[in-house]
């Protein structure tokens, strides 16, 4: 079957391109090839992936395939009861859709990169495209992962690539430090994930996502039989496993309290930000929850926690986006907030809503970042929005596409974000009837809608409207073909993508495609959630009104303003600008608390452990020093000692032989 060849190739092609660029592009100039060839190879490889994944999506969509493992290889042979560890390519509607989204966004980002990166006498192009290919390839491999262990491996690779790319301009201290921060913070979350991986294997004896003995079936049976897993009741074990996996998700998807790496990650090149936010790194977290949703569905507690993390993060990040002056920072916080919505939807059992929002967000956030990239290039790397203004006339294509993305982000009908955000809220709203605790994250989500509209249109107003505030803004100029193509494609998607699953209009193609009813059943059995989401036009209307109010307010307040409005803000603004002091708290935790505690604990090491070792050596040295005095160098003394020894020996032998 063709599909079985195509699916693995989607991930392998960019990984192959990575190898080629790595060995060809990083060689000394005369023997290897330059940045231009690397650009072509990287872009072509992702283009091939895009074509293949489009075919795969088409095949899965039209042929109505069941999930199947397209290719599988044994990595480590199992012994006795322990099953083999395998690497496999799992094809199902979710992975096919996600692979398409990832390769589409990655391809457009590659095209845009040609404009953003190549025009500036950049020397590290081969490095850039090698890392981008590895990034895309490992994300695609993660998407297709057929078991938890493989997912973990590629999850980590994605993290590594984001480290490489955020720190692409490693000679800037801020970029190097942001890269380290991203790596360490996400690694902190991944630590829990790793424990979860081990826990899954120890407790349930399998990693598989699919098939008879999959992790989900085993877990479900364990709960039905009421057995114990590792000394815990099966239900508790599932909850713990879900929460451990959630640790990795919170790190990667930048949910509270591990969101701090993401705004700093804006130090990377803007196309990288687009890729990280829309399709790869950050998306990996939420994708992991959708992939293991059957597991979460078994545990009401885990679902509630997911919903709370998501709802809170959505609001929390949105408030910080209100006061940021750097255009990329606004987008960074909006990303955190939007992923919060996806988590909220998942926690409320809204499987389709989460995937739907993941897809729409990938399109409009990639669009917004690429638009911002276009603006930043035009402004000669000035990112402060107060230095911009009036760019609307100078950069029409960027403006109109950015506006489409903004409308989608703000959730204004009929743009993409409206439909999916509405559905996310709807799932929380419907299930709150059965699970009153969901009202709180739902409320958070609803408030965040106003804020989203506000900060989005504050950004639009400051960047594109009013009069130019600097000379750069006055003379801004748009790039060429490789800017227009990605912007226009994504701009169109931001307008129309929402109609794939416009529930209020009675369209639920995506839901059917994903086989979402199965997941709703799982959630209703596991957590008592409703099986059918009845559309609430009232809720849609309220959300739309809130979004419009926010947008109009944001636009109205900031359009045409010349000077920052900071001084009117007072204490609240200060707290927001300091990002709720979460960074400070984390630094305190590291330096003020952990470091001091370590110093105290170090005393134990110094005094007791090292003390013991040192005492041993001191005794040896001292006794050696004393005993060596018998080495006088006088032959007669040695002779005497030898004779004395011989006499004593003879005496002992005699005593033992019974001569005396």
């Amino acid at each position: 079957m063709v599909v079985e060849t195509v699916a693995p190739a989607i991930a392998i092609v960019p990984l192959g391109a990575f190898a080629i660029i790595l060995f060809g592009g990083l060689l000394p100039k005369r023997r290897g090839f330059g940045g231009t060839t690397s650009t072509v190879i990287g872009t072509l490889a992702v283009g091939v992936s895009l074509a293949l994944s489009a075919y795969l999506l088409f095949a899965v969509w039209t042929r109505d395939m069941d999930a199947f493992v397209a290719a599988e290889a044994v990595w480590v042979d199992g012994i006795g009861e322990v099953p083999d560890l395998t690497v496999g390519v799992l094809v199902d509607p979710l992975s096919a859709l996600m692979a398409f989204i990832v390769s589409l966004v990655a391809f457009l980002v590659h095209v845009f990169s040609k404009y953003y990166m190549n025009d500036e006498g950049e020397t590290g192009l081969s490095r850039y495209y090698a890392a981008m290919s590895l990034f895309t390839g490992s994300m695609l491999a993660f998407v297709f992962a057929s078991n938890l262990l493989m997912a973990f491996v590629f999850f980590e690779l994605v993290g590594l690539c984001s480290y490489l790319l955020i720190g692409f301009w490693y000679d800037r201290p801020s970029a190097a430090s942001a890269a380290k921060k991203a790596f360490l913070v996400t690694r902190f979350g991944d630590y829990f994930f790793l424990v979860g991986v081990a826990f899954a294997f120890a407790g349930f004896g399998t990693f598989a996502f699919h098939g008879e003995g999959s992790l989900f079936t085993v877990a479900e049976n364990a709960i039905l039989e009421g057995g114990t897993v590792l000394g815990l009741s099966a239900g508790n074990a599932v909850t713990i496993l879900s929460l451990l996996v959630l640790g990795g998700v919170i790190g990667k998807s930048a949910q509270f309290p591990l969101h701090t790496w993401l705004p700093d990650a804006m130090e990377g090149p803007t196309p990288v930000s687009a890729l990280i936010h829309a399709a790869t790194m950050v998306a990996a977290g939420v994708y992991l929850v959708t992939r293991t949703f059957e597991l979460y569905a078994l545990s009401p507690t885990a679902l509630l926690i997911v919903a709370y993390v998501g709802g809170f993060t959505a609001l929390f990040a949105a408030t910080m986006a209100l006061v940021m002056d750097d255009i990329k920072q606004v987008l960074a916080y909006s990303t955190i907030s939007q992923y919060g919505y996806m988590m909220l939807a998942l926690g409320a059992g809204g499987y389709t809503a989460a995937v739907f929002h993941l897809m729409n967000h990938a399109f409009f956030k990639a669009l917004l970042f690429l638009g911002a990239g276009s603006v930043i290039i035009a402004m000669h790397h000035e990112q402060d929005m107060w230095s911009m203004g009036g760019l609307r006339k100078r950069m029409p294509v960027t403006y109109w596409t950015f506006l489409a993305g903004s409308l989608a982000l703000a959730g204004i009908a009929p743009f993409a974000g409206f439909w999916s955000k509405d559905e996310a809220l709807l799932s929380a709203f419907r299930n709150a009837a059965n699970e009153p605790l969901l009202w709180v994250p739902f409320g958070f989500g609803l408030i965040a809608v106003v804020l989203t509209g506000f900060y989005t249109f504050r950004m639009v107003a400051l960047t594109f409207h009013g009069r130019p505030r600097t000379d750069d803004a006055e003379l801004a100029d748009e790039g060429g073909f490789s800017v227009y193509v990605p912007l226009v494609v994504l701009g169109l998607l931001a307008v129309v993508a929402g109609f794939v699953n416009a529930e209020p209009l009675g369209i639920h193609a995506l839901s059917d495609f994903l086989g979402a009813s199965g997941f709703y059943e799982a959630a209703s059995e596991g957590a008592g959630y409703v099986e059918e989401f009845e559309v609430s036009l009232v809720l849609s209307g309220v959300a739309l009104v809130l979004a419009v109010v926010g947008a109009v307010a944001g636009f109205g307040i900031y359009a045409g303003k010349e000077e920052p409005l900071k001084e009117h803000g007072g204490a609240v603004t200060r707290v927001l600008e300091k990002k709720y002091y979460v960074d400070h708290a984390q630094v305190w935790l590291a330096e003020g608390f952990t470091y001091r505690l370590s110093k105290v604990l170090n005393l134990f090491d110094l005094d007791i452990v090292d003390g013991g070792v040192n005492a041993t050596s001191k005794v040896s040295l001292g006794s050696g020093d004393a005993v060596r005095r018998i080495q006088t160098g006088v032959v007669a003394h040695y002779a005497a000692i030898i004779v004395l020894g011989a006499v004593i020996l003879g005496f002992i032998v005699g005593l033992a032989g019974g001569w005396f």
């Binding site: 060596r628 080495q631 006088t632 160098g633 006088v634 032959v635 007669a636 002779a639 005497a640 004779v643």
Partner: protein
């Protein structure tokens, strides 16, 4: 025939004289001579028991031992010569450069 025990007693006496000499004398040449005494005490034992058991092997051993002793004395005297050149004396209590 002289009883074997007489030879053994003589050998013990010679050995004791040798040890006494090694421990008490300062002159390296004398010490070397005393060492020879101890060695020959051993040889005496070998011959005595060889005769007592009627086995010639012991006597053959002694011939070898004498040859080896001659070589050993040559080496020992050579060392002494060097010591004398270096320190101007063969008093073994004087040179103590190989100490801690």
């Amino acid at each position: 025939m002289v009883p074997t025990s007489y030879y053994v007693l003589l050998s013990a006496f010679v050995f004791a004289v040798g040890i006494y000499g090694v421990l008490t004398r300062d002159n390296a040449v004398v010490i070397l001579m005393c060492v020879e005494l101890m060695l020959n005490a051993g040889n005496l034992n070998l011959i005595a028991f060889s005769a007592s058991f009627g086995d010639v092997a012991g006597q053959a051993f002694v011939l070898f031992a004498l040859a080896v002793a001659a070589a050993e004395v040559a080496v020992g005297l050579g060392i002494l010569l060097l010591v004398y050149r270096e320190h101007g004396t063969v008093n073994i209590r004087k040179p103590s450069f190989m100490r801690w």
